[in-house]
Amino acid sequence: MLAEHLGKPVLDAGGARLGTIADLAVRLGPRYPPVTALEVRTGRHTARRVPWDAVASLDRRGARLRLGAPELPDAPAEAGELLLRRDVLDVQIFDVGGKRLTRVADVELVEDGGELVLAGVDVGAAPILRRLGLGPLARRARSVIIDWDELHLASGRGHALQLETPSAPLHSLTPDELAELVARLPPARGSEVLEAVHPATAAAARELQVLTPEARPRHRYGRILRLRRRAPS
């Protein structure tokens, strides 16, 4: 899990302390995004990015690198990447299976054929309690894992990146699931999703003035009027 690694020490090949684990970068594209870089906090305001190849091990005690600090290459930031702490942890998601909005409490990382991949997220109460330092309570609470294939990041960068990634789950939803997603997201993001996945439907909806922001309040006012008309009975 991601939260147990954050803030833990990063040691170089010689055992010298480089800094602490600040974040992990993953590359979107494959079904389960592989970890590509480790962001190390080296001082109060300084950080450096180490390519994942240079990381020998990652566990509860921290990360160990293959090289000494001077030989370490820097990993440049890539366009199609997410930072797990910044863009995924504690962010709002749409859970396709449960058809609801929820929030990421921890990120599940799994070793798969020699590479570390983002497998899913935990939205249960257990990781929240664990992160608050309430371990004993956490053991009695539930973990609720949602597969990376079954969710859409509802906010900011994650939402935008998933729209552009053809393999992202939102591109293979059933019409029912898609309707639920569009209805649950904030209105502007909902229409972006429809635009990306089903341009024809989005155009039809615009034609009917269901989705355009200019039309929506009037549409709603119509509902209120109907409600009032029904009220006297």
Binding site: R100, R103, V104, S155, R157, P186, P213, A215, I224
Partner: protein
């Protein structure tokens, strides 16, 4: 293409600003304004004006953040500052809100007393009434009942007008900053700021704007809603001060709660003024008693990641409705237990509200400037400077309150 007029668009957007604003004129608010008028006449009116400006500023920020990000305040704090801050914030909100809800039900009890109805009848009836409304209604129906209920505040304007205001003195009080450097005056000033700009009001306006599914295109109208709500809040506060300043202040009558004020008004301003004051207290308490648990329920669900909406059923949103029930039941129980230390509970919850307000506005300031979250709607330099000024004022008030509470213990 059909065109809609500006008025219809505005009417469709109205709600968050007006409701969050007016519910700040709740039972503790009315008490504070009454004491302000009865003890200091018009001298401290300028503080009410400043508070109203601060209310406009931060309610606009709250509404904008909700509309742009589609998330409530507790959820945004968790996304931007982590789960610890969110948990700490929501835990304090929960305690402070239960305390404040007690104050609202105490307000219901007080206005029941004025009409000769026992609190053992009036309080449970009020609790069942507001819960039934929120649990059984749809979003739009609930909103319209709330907006209708808020017209009861007109009674305060009437009550103030009956008292016959001296407008030149009112104008002077608003324009001339004058603060007697006594413990009582500082306390009254701090309480006025703290009761006008309440933490749960800030959380509520944002969650409510999200639940109403407003879009950035609505922001223009939403600003009108916010300013209207805040100005109405200030004007009603002004008339409460007027009613007390014109009658109780010259007579030298000091009061302790809003029920006192209504009783004291009778011989001085007549039965009508007193009855209107009492009716206003009932309406204000009921409105805030329905909005406070709602605000708490939104905040707790957001922080735990169980995002919920008024249109969801209790089965779909157990955390949301569970929190609502918990707040109402706890508050009613505390108010009805014979011999419960009601005065300390009310005082402590007000103090907690004041202390909680400071970190909350700092979070709001940080989030509103965050381009990552807010995009083109992030606060610019001018807005940030104005927010910082309010934060400075609040810090001053909170530290004054802290010093004033600790000082008597030392001497």
């Amino acid at each position: 293409m059909l065109r809609r007029s500006g008025l219809v668009a505005l009417l469709a957007v109205v709600g968050p600003g007006v409701l969050a604003g007016l519910s700040d004129d709740d039972a503790p608010g009315i008490t504070t304004y009454s004491i302000l008028g009865a003890d200091y006449g018009y001298r401290l009116l300028w503080i009410l004006l400043l508070s109203t400006v601060a209310l406009v500023l931060f309610h606009e920020l709250g509404a904008r953040m909700g509309v742009v990000t589609g998330q409530g305040l507790a959820g945004l704090i968790r996304e931007r500052y982590g789960v610890r801050w969110a948990a700490l914030g929501v835990a304090s909100l929960l305690v402070a809100n239960v305390g404040t809800t007690c104050a609202e039900f105490a307000g219901v009890a007080a206005s029941g007393d004025l009409a000769g109805v026992t609190r053992y009848l009036s309080v449970p009836a009020a609790a069942i009434g507001v819960s039934a409304l929120v649990l059984r209604g749809t979003f739009h129906r609930i909103e319209h009942v709330f907006l209708l209920a808020s017209t009861i505040f007109a009674t305060y304007i009437a009550s103030g007008l009956i008292a016959g205001p001296h407008w030149s003195q009112v104008g002077r009080g608003l324009a001339v900053p004058d603060l007697p450097l006594t413990r009582g005056a500082l306390l009254a000033a701090t309480a006025t700021v703290g009761t006008t700009l309440a933490p749960w009001g800030l959380a509520f306006i944002q969650s409510y704007a999200v639940d109403k599914r407003l879009t950035p295109a609505d922001l223009r109208y939403e600003r009108i809603d916010v300013v209207t709500g805040a100005v109405m809040t200030g004007v009603i506060g002004l008339f409460i001060v007027v009613a007390c300043a014109e009658t109780l202040y010259p007579a030298g009558i000091s009061i302790h709660d809003a029920g006192d004020a209504a009783r004291a008004l009778r011989p001085l301003a007549g039965n009508l003024s007193s009855t209107l004051f009492g009716a206003g207290l009932l309406g204000a308490s009921l409105l805030a008693a329905s909005i406070l648990p709602l605000s708490t329920a939104y905040s707790v669900s957001e922080a735990l990641g169980r995002e919920a909406a008024l249109d969801d059923s209790p089965r779909e949103a157990p955390v949301f409705y569970g929190t609502y029930a918990l707040v109402v039941v706890a508050a009613v129980a505390i108010v009805l237990v014979p011999g419960a230390p009601l005065v300390p509970i009310l005082f402590l919850s007000q103090a907690l509200n004041a202390v909680l307000l400071l970190p909350l506005v700092v979070f709001i300031y940080g989030i509103s400037r965050d381009r990552e979250l807010m995009g083109e709607h992030a606060s610019g330099r001018l807005g940030s400077a104005a927010s910082l000024a309010v934060i400075g004022l609040l810090a001053l008030c909170v530290s004054a309150l802290g010093i004033l509470s600790v000082l008597p213990l030392l001497t």
